[in-house]
């Protein structure tokens, strides 16, 4: 087996090279929900330095490595809850403050974090409060003495509250107008810079009058000659802090998470952004009647990630039940399911609530991803979080059964390679 040989070659190396050999530990469980590669029976997860080193069935474990051997356990990646106000209580209006982070609101060691950690939530995305564009989310681990210890990533996504009204549309249009303004400024500065470079570098060639069309060619020329005259790199003028987040959005470095509550909101959002091309995710507030199925095809076509509660809804004006999260997931959209409420109890029943969606037509695989790797992807963290794969952060959730069954309990939680919850004997 490939994994075996890999493990064998890897383990001694790790032992030899690492001064903290005891960092390496193995966990043998009855079942592993890898999320990325299906289920592995009799799985062994090897963890070192807070990362998963290997996952596989019945891997031989080198002698000397501490082993947690619990065949009755199931392991899955720690849950990722990307959309939360847990432990924060700030309130705000409908301002345009895209530069804001909720970090200053965070109180390390708040009870709530410890509580949800015990439910298996190992990564949280906290967003700033308010309507309009209240700011950017911060990804944290729910344990730490200081903010620095907790913080994983600032600017995880940009929260945008959008409703079909004049104010929301104006906010969005104005924001992008400022981006255009900035781009223009940069273009002008670059033109000027290019001219200056030419002036310095090539005195013999008088091409000062040449304008934009040849800009690129000039640039190259300027670069070549600039090297001689030790010209500096072009430094674009700094962007306004309120523009910066949108530049990141435009460049695909951050997703905006757009909150909508009806098909009409969607239609007006599209109208507001016009022809601009950028990826965005949708936060859909689930209600009893939600007419989002009206725009199902458009949302599927745009491949939007959706953040919704695991709840069923009805076709408007009827008693026809529908499972919107499943409809979108089955169509290929990434669906992130979050707890139904902000109370702790909802966090505790989160897995079971998602299981409910599986009983109503959602694929099991999509349901598991909705709480792990898709949730991480929303924050741009799916490289490191959300699955049981080699190289990922060792955030593990151990359960006494099927994660999507209501009766299943959390028996242990590992955060960054350390058990933080549950009684674990080695």
């Amino acid at each position: 087996m490939r994994l075996n040989s890999l493990l064998l070659s890897l383990v001694p190396a790790a032992l030899a090279s690492s001064a903290f050999a005891f960092d390496l530990q193995a966990i043998r469980v009855g079942r592993a929900e890898t999320v990325s590669h299906g289920v592995i029976e009799h799985a062994v997860v090897l963890v070192e330095d807070g990362r998963i080193v290997a996952v596989g069935p019945d891997l031989p474990i080198e002698r000397g490595i501490p082993v947690v051997d619990r065949p009755e356990w199931t392991v899955m990646p720690g849950l990722v809850l990307p959309y939360s106000r847990l432990g924060l209580d700030g309130r705000a209006g409908a301002d345009f403050t895209p530069e804001v982070s909720p970090s200053p609101e965070i109180l390390p060691r708040a009870e709530e974090y410890e509580e949800v950690l015990s439910y298996g939530i190992t990564t949280l995305g906290l967003y700033p409060p308010g309507n309009g564009v209240p700011g950017q989310a911060v990804a944290i681990r729910p344990k730490g003495e200081t903010l620095e210890e907790m913080r994983i990533k600032e600017g995880a996504y940009l929260k945008v509250y959008f409703r079909a009204d004049a104010r929301s549309k104006k906010t969005v249009k104005d924001a992008w107008a400022k981006v255009d303004e900035h781009d223009e400024k940069v273009a002008k500065a670059k033109e000027k810079w290019t001219k200056d470079q030419k002036g310095k570098g090539a005195k013999t060639e008088e091409k000062k009058d040449e304008a934009k069309p040849d800009e690129k060619k000039d640039e190259k020329a300027a670069d070549a000659k600039g090297a001689d005259s030790k010209a500096k790199e072009f430094v674009p003028p700094a962007a306004d802090p309120k523009v910066k987040p949108f530049l990141r959005v435009r460049d695909g470095k951050m997703l905006p998470l757009v909150s909508i509550s009806s098909a009409a909101d969607w239609a007006h959002w599209l109208d507001a952004i016009g022809e601009r091309k950028f990826d965005f995710a949708l936060r859909v507030v689930m209600q009893r009647e939600l007419d989002l199925y009206e725009v199902h095809d458009e949302i599927v076509k745009r491949k939007c990630m959706l953040v919704m509660e695991p709840e069923l809804s009805y076709t408007t004006a009827t008693m026809r039940q529908r499972n919107l999260p499943a409809e979108f997931a089955n169509a290929g959209n990434k669906v992130v399911l979050i707890p139904r409420g902000e109370d702790l109890a909802s966090h505790e029943t989160w897995r079971a609530d998602v299981g409910e969606m599986v009983k109503n037509g959602m694929k099991r695989e999509d349901a598991l991803k909705s709480m792990t790797v898709h949730a991480a992807a929303l924050m741009g963290l799916d490289k490191d979080y959300g699955t049981l794969e080699k190289g990922k952060v060792a955030n593990l959730l151990f359960l006494n059964g099927d994660p999507l069954e209501p009766g299943t309990k959390v028996v242990a939680v590992m955060l960054d390679g350390a058990f933080v919850h549950g009684e674990v004997r080695q």
Binding site: A164, D165, A166, S168, K169, S262, A263, A264, A267, H268, D271, D291, E294, V295, T316, A317, T318
Partner: protein, 480 residues
């Protein structure tokens, strides 16, 4: 392709011609005459967009003309041709209206809760193109509403271009109940009229005497000025004879055309209102007792709309409730405009005037009659297809078309699909088959057998017999 050329003459003239000489209307030569001559005005319209055709229907254009078994051809949401033997482009979406009547989409004045959930203007930003109320309105044949004075097109699944015209009415109050306000308004009109007179004089004399000072516009009420300059319309809410008379005289004095909402006692002063060129927005089923203090005529009359119309007043018809009312006064809400209009017909209003009262007249009141309110070349392709006479209580809207797009199909929506379902239509998807059929059609079209087939659906002939029974009961309730 021929279709880029537009009609030179208005569809109205053509339609009338078609009515007068139906045999000639189907003559291919007649068709060619229609196609000839591109009008300069129409050439400026966008020559793009999807083709849409409604074929085989009886086109009740709303102008008084009826074209039986005709085709309405639209592109980019604008009607390009109406007539027989039209060549339909292969890529056109075609709706077969065999056995159906085609009317212009209805215009509901002061409708609330349809254009957006919360109302309050800014419809370009709040319009809900997926709302149930919107579908219900389309099912009732309404394709344009005015809410807060703004004319809004009921597009479905689209938010672009829903606002046809921003508010351009100015609501004024001129009532003997508030004598001070009345005299103030008098003064404002006087001042604005004097200013405009002075301004015109100045413009005239300026040519010879350049030193002449421009008259000062200070103190001139901008609203009143815009009314007198025809930039906005004055809208009043009045029911009393004396108030109506006052408004009529004010309008006659300052030469503007007032819109009067209510006008319950309008029939008592109809000639004065007619002379003022007034628009009246009436609720034919509204009732009110005569004031016993007065010797003169008063109170409501079932003939109100008819008398106003006869006196030259443009009558628009509105329902008792401007909301969609599914409880309480269901049947008298905005979804029942044609029934409301039917009551005016009972009172003597010609059917044509009743139809105009829920189409072109409200369109004029909103200042959108150049686009909306009748089926004519160059206008928006807003059509409703019914299985009978629009004013008949049994007729149901089968299809609604807004801007050349099919937005409502009775058989496919929740609400009325189960009521008198129509037999499955013949598929007319293949353009080849369509054209072949079209070539054969003219000969068959007017044969009585074909018409006979349509009768059971339409039942226009039974209308007068059925109505009194139903109406008598209703009126008894009203008065009792």
């Amino acid at each position: 392709m021929k279709f880029s050329t537009m009609l030179a003459r208005s569809a109205r003239t053509l339609a009338v011609a078609a009515l007068a000489v139906p045999v000639f209307a189907q003559d291919p030569a007649g068709g060619e005459g229609q196609a000839g001559g591109a009008a300069g005005a129409d050439a400026t319209k966008k020559d793009e967009g999807e083709w849409f055709a409604v074929v085989n229907g009886d086109v009740y254009s709303g102008t008084g003309a009826v074209l039986r078994g005709a085709t309405v051809l639209a592109r980019g949401g604008v009607i390009r041709k109406i007539g027989h033997d039209l060549e339909i482009p292969a890529d056109a979406k075609v709706l077969d209206a065999q056995g159906l009547r085609i009317y212009p989409g209805l215009v509901a004045l002061n409708a609330r809760g349809i254009a957006s959930r919360f109302g309050g203007g800014e419809f370009a930003d709040t319009f809900d193109p997926y709302s149930q109320n919107l579908v219900l309105a389309l099912a009732a044949g309404i394709t344009t509403v005015s809410d807060s004075g703004v004319a809004v097109k009921l597009k479905r699944r689209e938010v672009k271009g829903v606002v046809v015209r921003e508010r351009y009415q100015s609501t004024l109050s001129y009532s003997s109940a508030a004598p001070r306000g009345k005299s103030e308004l008098d003064a404002k009109f006087e001042a604005a009229a004097r200013y405009l007179r002075d301004y015109r004089d100045w413009e005239e004399q300026k040519k010879t005497n350049k030193d002449l000072k421009e008259p000062a516009a200070r103190g001139v009420d901008p609203t009143i000025r815009s009314i007198l300059e025809n930039r906005s319309m004055a809208r009043f809410n009045a029911a009393n004879r004396s108030d109506l008379l006052g408004i009529a005289r004010l309008a006659q004095k300052y030469k503007f055309r007032p819109i009067i909402e209510g006008a319950l006692e309008g029939w008592t002063v109809a000639d004065e209102l007619g002379r003022a060129g007034a628009y009246a927005v009436v609720v034919p089923r509204a009732r009110r007792d005569k004031s016993e203090e007065l010797l003169r005529d008063g109170g409501s009359s079932i003939e109100n709309a008819a008398i106003l119309h006869r006196s030259g007043v443009q009558v628009a018809i509105q329902a008792t409730s401007t909301f969609i009312d599914l409880g309480g006064i269901a049947g008298r809400d905005v979804l029942h405009l044609p029934i409301e209009a039917g009551f005016a017909v009972r009172g003597g209003l010609p059917e044509q005037a009743a139809i105009e009262g829920i189409t072109i007249v409200p369109a004029r009141i909103l200042g959108v009659e150049h686009r909306i309110g009748s089926i004519e070349v160059g206008k928006d392709c807003d059509l409703i297809l019914l299985d009978g006479d629009l004013l008949h209580y049994q007729a149901l809207v089968q299809y609604t078309v807004v801007d050349g797009k099919l937005v409502y199909e009775k058989d496919k929506e929740l609400y009325y699909a189960h009521i008198r379902p129509r037999p499955a239509a013949q598929p007319t998807d293949a353009p080849e088959a369509r054209r072949d059929k079209g070539e054969e059609k003219p000969a068959d079209d007017d044969t009585p057998t074909e018409g006979g087939d349509e009768k059971p659906e339409g039942k226009p002939a039974e209308t007068p017999e059925d109505k009194p029974k139903d109406g008598a009961a209703d009126e008894a309730v009203d008065e009792g």
